[in-house]
């Protein structure tokens, strides 16, 4: 595509760019407090969703994001209005990070008319064009060409917006991911591929699914730079994300960030978790929890007191409870909705 070539950006060698990790930038008070509140909001929301699933209020598949909160919260800090976000099925955290209303998200989980998709999408299929969130896609890996297409639209329109395209270590083995990589680099499309490596593709450990387990290297044969990031440290995520987003905005093409992260809960609500030990989960929880890290830092640096943090906790809980309340009592969609929205 000619349009991408009209902006001859300084093109540092992709490999050397990849080999220079972003310098970790310390957060100030406001950033740490905001990160704490946003991550906690996701965690409390997901805990509530898990509870409501257990009560039979949420049906089907429900993939919780608990443990991975630092990834979306850190990445969202790098975006501007007009940038796009797209992801797979473990999408509740992404939606909340994008600024979508927890009531609308929770009501979609319960299949009610006030849900973002009027109750017709469910956990895996929600969208908000207004907040720049393009789904919510249930087929593993399908969002990768789609996100690449959103980035294509940015180039076509001649703006400098960037699309964050999230996928997991499982999706990273899908063929269409590499078809998208090729076109993204060929046409210098502004897309950051954020691989959320939570170590397990459903129940298959990455060492059992991938010949090359360093997923940040998956773009090398396309000359796409990549970097491994501590996805449990929101500061590291933001620092790496800023570098990658700027790389894209400057017209250099795509960038891969492999976020080393972990999910505490099962793949979905019906996961027997036979593939890993309790000890493994417990070790990550106690030693690397993304929220606890920020909490400790806030207290150490005296950005806030215990009481002030408790107040934030209470506010977050209240907001989640309101969402759950709304999602429980909002009516189901009208029967006539069955036949709407098939075509425009």
């Amino acid at each position: 595509m000619a349009v991408a070539k009209k902006k001859p950006a300084a093109q540092p060698d992709a490999k050397s760019a990849a080999e220079t990790p972003a310098k970790l930038a310390e957060f100030g008070k406001d950033q740490d407090i905001a990160a704490y509140r946003d991550m906690l909001s996701i965690r409390r929301f997901e805990e509530k969703a898990g509870q409501m699933y257990g009560m039979g209020l949420i049906g089907g598949f429900c993939h919780l994001y608990i443990g991975q909160e630092a990834v979306v919260v850190g990445m969202q800090m790098t975006l501007r209005k007009g940038d796009q976000v797209i992801t797979g099925y473990r999408d509740h955290g992404h939606m909340l990070a994008c600024g979508m209303d927890p009531k609308g998200v929770m009501a979609e989980l319960t299949g009610r008319r006030g849900g973002y998709s009027k109750g017709k999408g469910g956990s895996m299929h929600m969208f908000s064009v207004q907040e720049g969130f393009y789904g919510g896609h249930g087929i593993v890996g399908a969002q990768v060409p789609l996100g690449t297409g959103l980035a294509f639209a940015n180039v076509y329109r001649g703006n400098d917006h960037v699309c964050l395209t999230y996928f997991g270590d499982g999706a990273a083995t899908q063929g269409q991911v590499y078809e998208a990589f090729n076109m993204a680099e060929l046409w210098k499309l502004p897309v950051v591929y954020v691989i959320e490596n939570n170590r397990y593709a459903m129940g298959t450990a990455i060492t059992r699914s991938s010949a090359e387990t360093n997923l940040s290297r998956r773009g090398l044969s396309f000359n796409i730079p990549g970097e491994q990031v501590d996805g449990m440290d929101v500061r590291a995520v933001k620092s790496a994300g800023e570098k990658a987003v700027q790389w894209c905005r400057d017209g250099n093409g795509p960038f891969i960030l492999e976020m080393m992260t972990y999910r505490y809960r099962g793949h979905s609500m019906s996961d027997p978790a036979k593939y890993r030990t309790r000890e493994e989960v417990e070790k990550v929880r106690t030693e690397h929890d993304p929220i606890e890290q920020v909490r400790q830092r806030i207290l150490e640096k005296k950005f806030a007191s215990e009481d002030q943090l408790k107040k934030i906790d209470a506010e977050v809980r209240e907001r989640v409870n309101q969402a759950a309340e709304f999602a429980t009592h909002d009516p189901e969609p009208d029967a006539a909705e069955l036949y709407t929205d098939v075509w425009r």
Binding site: S117, V144, P145, L146, G149, F152, A153, N182, M183
Partner: protein
């Protein structure tokens, strides 16, 4: 295989000791004739095997023609600039080492001396001339004002014009696919678009159907209006997940919030002699899916009017073309902005005894069968569905209520085919009007064979349509 990637071998002589006749080559699976654009050798030139001796213009591209023979170019039989030279016509004579010109007299000029499968093949797809004639008698669409001037153009040109007009009209419309730009279209449908609109809007993709289908859908989710060309729909099976799960379902899954304005177009179904993996008709596959619209025109006018409508439609549209029809000429109304409604069938030929329902290439069989039936005193009404989804049942039912008999024609397989759907609708909505069970003419339930005779047997035929129509008329 991708079209036109075939090396262009010269026609082989079968009589070694005689002067060698060079025959007009078939340079694509569907080529019937071509223009002899230029001779690159002149009489008396020495020729080695592999030398390019002429440039031949097919309806798709200008191709170099290499000699497979060695010797001296003794005589040029067809001068350069000659148009419409039939495949297998002798175009030159080559003398081998040691022969003299007097031997030329013994060379037979008749093309039929070299048997070829192509020359023997009288099946409907290989007889565009007859089809054209029959087609030219079709009345224009009722929507066309009386007195509108009609211009003759090929299906290929009509499709190109539709895209060009819409690209001029809307900056967000662009076309992408394999070989759409610099190659000028694998089937020449996008010819000239790169020159007019530039590389930003006419985009060659890598061979990556799943990837570029998804990328196109993503661009559409982002508000652009892509036209994605599949070199053939046979390759779109690679992209099926994106077409069904991403393009068709997103509007519904988002509660109407986010849709996908995109056209997927390209040749569908059998061409000629390209075997099982390149000959499948996907009419039934796509028209099964809620959220997709599916269009399959049979004339250039419909192709133009419906492709323009498809590009403007806010939904994902599957636009099934047919390679055999690309080169055929039809009258097209000369109107500034000819847009047809999606979802409206057309009575292509009025009749009273039996309704024949077809679309795309199926119309070729249907119309010729109607001519045959007329000779036997059976008046067939032929309905061109044009759009498969949403399907215009009303036009079909109204006709069947009049005739009491129906035959469906398709190049797809019978089980779960479009004909099965039409038959079910007729049964449900016009049961009391039926004088006979609905008959279906379709491809045979086998992968497409390569051998010319078997391919002909595998496809529907005019004779089968005639027979089916007679059977439902109890004749």
């Amino acid at each position: 295989m991708r079209p036109n990637s075939i090396p262009t071998f010269g026609a082989e002589s079968v009589i070694k000791s005689m002067p060698i006749e060079v025959l007009m080559p078939a340079l694509s699976p569907t080529m019937e004739k071509g223009n002899l654009a230029k001779w690159l050798k002149k009489e008396g030139d020495k020729i080695r095997s592999g030398d390019v001796i002429a440039e031949i213009e097919t309806d798709k591209a200008t191709m170099e023609f290499e000699s497979a023979e060695e010797g001296t170019l003794a005589r040029i039989l067809v001068p350069e600039g000659t148009a419409d030279v039939a495949v297998n016509t002798p175009i030159a004579v080559i003398l081998s080492e040691g022969e003299d010109k007097s031997a030329i007299k013994t060379a037979k000029p008749a093309a039929q001396s070299v048997p070829s499968a192509k020359a023997q093949k009288p099946s409907a797809p290989a007889a565009p001339k007859a089809a054209e004639k029959s087609r030219l008698q079709i009345a224009p669409d009722p929507g066309v004002p009386d007195g509108t001037e009609m211009v003759t153009m090929t299906m290929r040109e009509a499709l190109r014009d539709a895209m060009a007009e819409e690209m001029r009209r809307d900056e967000n419309v662009f076309v992408m696919g394999e070989e759409v730009a610099e190659y000028q279209g694998a089937y020449k449908v996008t010819q000239g678009l790169l020159q007019e609109f530039g590389a930003k809007r006419v985009i060659d993709t890598p061979i990556t159907e799943h990837g570029f289908a998804g990328l196109g859908i993503g661009a559409a989710l982002g508000g652009l209006k892509p036209i994605v060309e599949f070199m053939t729909f046979n390759f779109a099976m690679q992209a099926m997940d994106q077409l069904v799960n991403s393009a068709a379902k997103t509007l519904y899954m988002s509660g109407g919030q986010m849709g996908c304005q995109i056209v997927f177009r390209g040749p569908n179904g059998a061409a000629a002699r390209v075997g099982a993996q390149h000959s499948q008709d996907y009419s039934a596959w796509y028209s099964h899916i809620p959220g997709l619209k599916v269009i399959a025109p049979s004339t250039a006018a419909d192709a133009k009017g419906l492709l323009k409508a498809a590009i403007r439609d806010p939904n994902p549209v599957i636009f099934l073309e047919n390679e055999i029809l690309y080169g055929q000429s039809f009258p097209v109304p000369k109107l500034d902005d000819y847009v047809l409604p999606i979802g409206k069938a057309k009575v292509a030929r009025a009749g009273s005894d039996v309704t024949i329902i077809a679309w795309s290439i199926g119309m070729t069989y249907a119309l010729k069968a109607a001519d045959e039936l007329a000779k036997d005193g059976i008046s067939a009404e032929v309905i061109d569905l044009r759009t498969l989804k949403p399907m215009d049942s009303d036009t079909v039912i109204t006709s069947v209520q009049k005739t009491g008999r129906a035959v469906t024609v398709e190049e797809g397989w019978q089980q779960n085919g479009v004909g099965a759907e039409i038959a079910a609708r007729i049964m449900a909505q016009a049961f009391d009007y039926l004088d006979a069970p609905v008959a279906r003419v379709s491809a045979k339930d086998v992968p497409m064979p390569y051998a010319a005779n078997l391919e002909k047997l595998a496809l529907p035929s005019v004779a089968e349509v005639v027979e089916a129509a007679k059977s439902v008329c109890y004749r």
